[in-house]
C-alpha cells in the first residue's frame, strides 16, 4: 500500500509491522512523532503491544532489556541526549545478547542546544556492541526496521540494532512509501523465538558476577564473532528482502556511478541523495565522480570498503560528526581498513554539524577538490572542515 509518510511515521509503521509486544519510550525532539504515532496505533487497536511511558530514555532501554529478557520482542526510539543517557544500558543490552531494535533520529549534542541533524550521537555509541544501519529515505527507514528484527533475532547473532535516520531531513519530511502487507511481513520475520528467557519453570540468573578467570572475556569474544557473522546474515536477509518486497538494497555500500570514477565520495545517510544529484550534473559536464553510501557502520564492512578503493584514485570521506582523534569517525575507520591495501589518497571532509545545510553547491566544490587530489596523487591535508562561517572556499 502506497502512503505518504514522514521518516518518523515510516519508523512507526516499521515497528507496527514487526509486532513488538512491549514498547518503552520517552519523548525527545526530533524522535517524538515516532512514539506518538505508535501510541495512536495502540490506542486505536491497530497494534497489539504494551506501551510503557517511562520517565527517561535510560528507563526506556532498561525496560526493553527486562521485557526482551522475559521473552518478547521490544522496540524503542530516541535521539541525541536520550541516546547518550542510555549509554550504560546500551552496553547492557548488547552484552546480554538481546536483539532489541531501536530507531535513532540523529541529532546534534549540546551545548549549545541544537535539535538538528548531526551524527555524533550514534557515532559516540559505535563501541556499544549494537549493529548500526544508516538510512537515506523513508522507505529505507521502514524496511530497515523489519530487516533488523530478522537479522538481530537469529541465534547466531543476538545483537541489538539501531536503525538510524537524519533529523528533519527524513524525520519530518514526507515521501511516498510502500507499506508492505502485514501478512508478508509476518511470514518474513516469523514469530519471536527467544534463545533464553526469565522463566520460573526453568530458573536461571542473567548477568551475574564473574571473576577474571571466568568467561567474561569469552563472552566479549563471542560478541565479536557474532558481529562478524552478522555480515553474512545481513547479506542474506537483504537479498531475501529485496526479492520478497521488490526492492534493491545493497547490503553494505550503495554505489552510484562509481565504475570509472576518478574520485568517490564516501558518505552516510541523506548526504548520499544530495551527492547523487551532484554526481549526475557533474558527470554531464564530463567529471568522472561517483558516490558510495555506507549503510552498515556496525558491523563495518572492511572488505567492501577495500573493494571500493580498488575502483578509484581518491576517496573523499564526508563526516557529519567529529571525533577528537585522527579525524572523524567514518574517515578514521575507512583509513584504518585501507592501510596496507591501497596507496590512494583519502581525505576527510567534516561538514553539516548541528544541522548546517549540506548543499549541492558545497558538495560540488568538495568533488572538485577531490578530483584535484586524485590528479596530484596526494591529499593537501588529512582533514578539512567544510562550510565554516567566513570560509570563502566552500560557500
Amino acid at each position: 500500500m502506497k502512503m505518504i509518510l514522514t521518516g518518523n511515521e515510516s519508523a512507526a509503521w516499521g515497528a507496527r509491522l514487526s509486532r513488538p509486544k512491549v514498547i518503552a519510550a520517552y519523548p525527545i525532539t526530533p524522535q517524538t512523532s515516532i512514539i506518538e504515532t505508535i501510541a495512536s496505533f495502540i490506542a486505536n487497536g491497530e497494534m497489539d503491544a504494551r506501551y510503557i511511558r517511562v520517565e527517561s530514555e535510560h528507563s526506556a532501554m532498561a525496560a526493553c532489556i527486562a521485557a526482551q529478557n522475559t521473552g518478547v520482542r521490544t522496540y524503542t526510539a530516541t535521539s541525541a541526549h536520550g541516546l547518550a543517557l542510555m549509554h550504560e544500558v546500551l552496553i547492557w543490552a548488547s552484552g546480554a545478547r538481546l536483539p532489541i531494535v531501536m530507531s535513532v533520529v540523529n541529532r546534534a549534542m549540546a551545548p549549545p542546544w541544537s535539535v538538528w541533524t548531526d551524527q555524533l550521537d550514534t557515532m559516540a555509541e559505535r563501541d556499544s556492541g549494537w549493529i548500526q544501519v544508516y538510512t537515506q529515505n523513508n522507505q529505507e527507514v521502514l524496511d530497515s526496521i523489519i530487516m533488523s528484527y530478522k537479522i538481530a533475532e537469529k541465534h547466531n547473532i543476538l545483537l541489538p540494532t539501531m536503525v538510524i535516520e537524519d533529523a528533519f531531513i527524513l524525520s519530518h519530511t514526507s515521501e511516498g512509501v510502500d507499506v508492505p502487507e502485514q501478512k508478508k511481513v509476518d511470514d518474513f520475520i516469523g514469530e519471536y523465538n527467544p534463545a533464553f528467557k526469565l522463566d520460573p519453570e526453568e530458573p536461571a540468573g542473567f548477568g551475574s558476577l564473574i571473576m577474571p578467570e571466568g568467561p567474561y572475556m569469552e563472552f566479549r569474544y563471542k560478541m565479536a564473532l557474532a558481529m562478524e557473522e552478522a555480515k553474512k546474515e545481513i547479506k542474506k536477509v537483504v537479498e531475501e528482502f529485496n526479492e520478497t518486497f521488490n526492492r534493491n538494497y545493497s547490503p553494505f555500500i550503495e554505489e552510484y556511478r562509481t565504475e570509472d570514477a576518478d574520485a568517490i565520495m564516501f558518505v552516510l545517510g541523506t548526504i548520499g541523495s544530495t551527492a547523487k544529484d551532484v554526481v549526475d550534473s557533474m558527470r554531464s559536464e564530463g567529471y568522472k565522480v561517483g558516490v558510495a553510501r555506507l549503510r552498515y557502520f556496525r558491523p563495518f564492512p572492511a572488505e567492501e570498503v577495500r573493494r571500493l578503493a580498488k575502483k578509484t584514485n581518491m576517496i573523499g570521506v564526508v563526516d557529519r560528526s567529529y571525533s577528537f582523534g585522527p579525524g572523524a569517525d567514518l574517515f578514521a575507520e575507512t583509513k584504518s581498513v585501507l592501510y596496507n591495501h591501497t596507496d590512494i589518497p583519502v581525505k576527510n571532509y567534516v561538514m553539516g554539524l548541528g544541522g548546517r545545510d549540506i548543499t549541492p553547491a558545497i558538495l560540488r566544490k568538495v568533488f572538485l577538490d577531490m578530483l584535484h587530489i586524485a590528479k596530484e596523487g596526494v591529499a593537501d591535508k588529512e582533514i578539512e572542515w567544510v562550510g565554516l562561517q567566513g570560509d570563502e572556499r566552500w560557500s
Binding site: K21, V22, A24, A49, R50, I52, R53, V54, E55, S56, H58, S59, A60, A62, A63, C64, I65, A66, A67, Q68, N69, T70, G71, V72, T74, E88, V89, W92, L198, D199, P200, E202, P203, A204, G205, F206, G207, S208, L209, I210, M211, G214, P215
Partner: protein, 300 residues
C-alpha cells in the same frame, strides 16, 4: 500445637556469599518463602548482586535478572508487561534493591514505575548505607551515623541529616500497598507479603536489614538490633493500604533510643546531647505516624 505461620518451603539455597549475620539474606529468605516459586526477581547493583554467588553458581531457585544500579523500577515494569503480554499474569515480579539503589540512584525509576501502576513488588532492603561498596552514606543513612564518607574526623563530620523516608514517598504515589517490615518480626513480614500478593498494582516494602559489617555490631546481634529498632520506635512497623495507615506494632513502653544505638559501633561517638537530639527526632516521627494513622482511619 501451634500452627507454623512461616512457610517451610525454601527458595534460598545454601552457599550464599554474604557476611556473617547479614540481615539482607534473612529478608530475601522470608520474601521468597512468602511469595513462592512462581516469582521473578530483578536485582540491581547492591549486596544482593554478589550474595547469590559467582557465575555459574546461584543461591536462589527463582529466575533472577541482574541489572544496572538505577533501573529496578524500569526493569520490573518491563518484566511485568512482557509477562502480561504473554498471558502470564500469575507470576510475581519482585524488584529487590538496597537503600542506595532505592532512595538515591534508583528513586526516579522507582517513582515512575509506582506512578504507572504496574502489578509488581518493590522491596527495598534497607541496610542504611552503600554496604556493597564498603559503607558509604546514602539518603537512607540515619541521623548521627558514622560511614566511610561521613567519617567524623576532627570536624565531627558524621551523617547529621535525618534519614529519608522512602516509604512515605511511596505513600505519596497513592499506590495500593506500602509497608515497613524487619527481619526480627518474620510473621509480620510474611503476613504483609501475603496480603500484598492479593492486591493487583504496585506494592512497596521497606525492610530494615541490619548489617553487622557496616553498623559495626556483632554478627549475633542482627535480630536483636532489628527488634530494638521496633521497640525503640526508631523503625516503626506499619502498613498503608489504599492510603489508610495501620501501625503493626505499638510498643507499650518504648525503650530509649540509646539502647538501640549503644549496640552499634557506627553510633559510638555520639554525645549524650546528640543522643537526646536523636531521641527527640524519633519521638516526633512516632507522634506524626500516630497522627497519620488516626487521620487516615477517621476518614472512614
Amino acid at each position: 500445637m501451634k500452627k507454623l505461620t512461616i512457610p517451610e518451603e525454601e527458595h534460598m539455597l545454601s552457599g550464599h556469599t554474604a557476611c556473617l549475620g547479614c540481615g539482607a539474606t534473612i529478608a530475601m529468605r522470608y520474601v521468597l518463602k512468602a511469595l513462592g516459586k512462581n516469582t521473578i526477581l530483578s536485582i540491581p547493583a547492591c549486596c544482593w548482586a554478589v550474595i547469590p554467588g559467582v557465575y555459574p553458581h546461584r543461591t536462589l531457585d527463582v529466575p533472577l535478572l541482574y541489572t544496572a544500579f538505577e533501573v529496578t523500577g524500569a526493569a520490573i515494569s518491563g518484566i511485568r508487561e512482557a509477562l502480561d503480554a504473554m498471558g502470564k499474569e500469575d507470576v510475581n515480579v519482585v524488584g529487590f534493591a538496597g537503600d542506595g539503589g532505592t532512595a538515591d540512584i534508583g528513586l526516579q525509576a522507582l517513582s515512575a514505575a509506582m506512578e504507572r501502576g504496574h502489578n509488581v513488588f518493590y522491596i527495598m532492603y534497607d541496610n542504611e548505607a552503600y554496604m556493597n561498596t564498603g559503607i558509604q552514606r546514602s539518603g537512607s543513612t540515619p541521623m548521627g551515623a558514622w560511614t566511610t564518607t561521613t567519617p567524623g574526623g576532627k570536624k565531627r563530620m558524621y551523617k547529621w541529616e535525618p534519614k529519608k523516608s522512602v516509604a512515605e514517598i511511596m505513600v505519596a504515589h497513592h499506590i495500593p500497598y506500602v509497608a515497613t517490615a524487619t527481619i526480627a518480626y518474620p510473621e509480620d513480614m510474611i503476613a504483609k507479603l501475603k496480603r500484598a500478593k492479593e492486591i493487583k498494582g504496585p506494592k512497596f516494602f521497606q525492610i530494615l536489614s541490619p548489617c553487622p559489617t557496616g553498623w559495626r555490631h556483632a554478627p549475633d546481634k542482627t535480630v536483636e538490633i532489628s527488634r530494638l529498632a521496633v521497640q525503640t520506635n526508631v523503625f516503626p512497623l506499619y502498613e498503608v493500604i489504599d492510603g489508610k495507615y495501620k501501625i503493626s506494632i505499638k510498643p507499650k513502653n518504648p525503650k530509649p533510643v540509646k539502647e538501640y544505638l549503644r549496640l552499634q559501633g557506627r553510633f559510638r561517638h555520639l554525645t549524650e546531647e546528640e543522643i537526646e537530639k536523636i531521641q527527640r527526632h524519633v519521638d516526633e516521627n512516632w507522634k506524626a505516624l500516630l497522627k497519620k494513622e488516626r487521620c487516615s482511619q477517621e476518614e472512614e
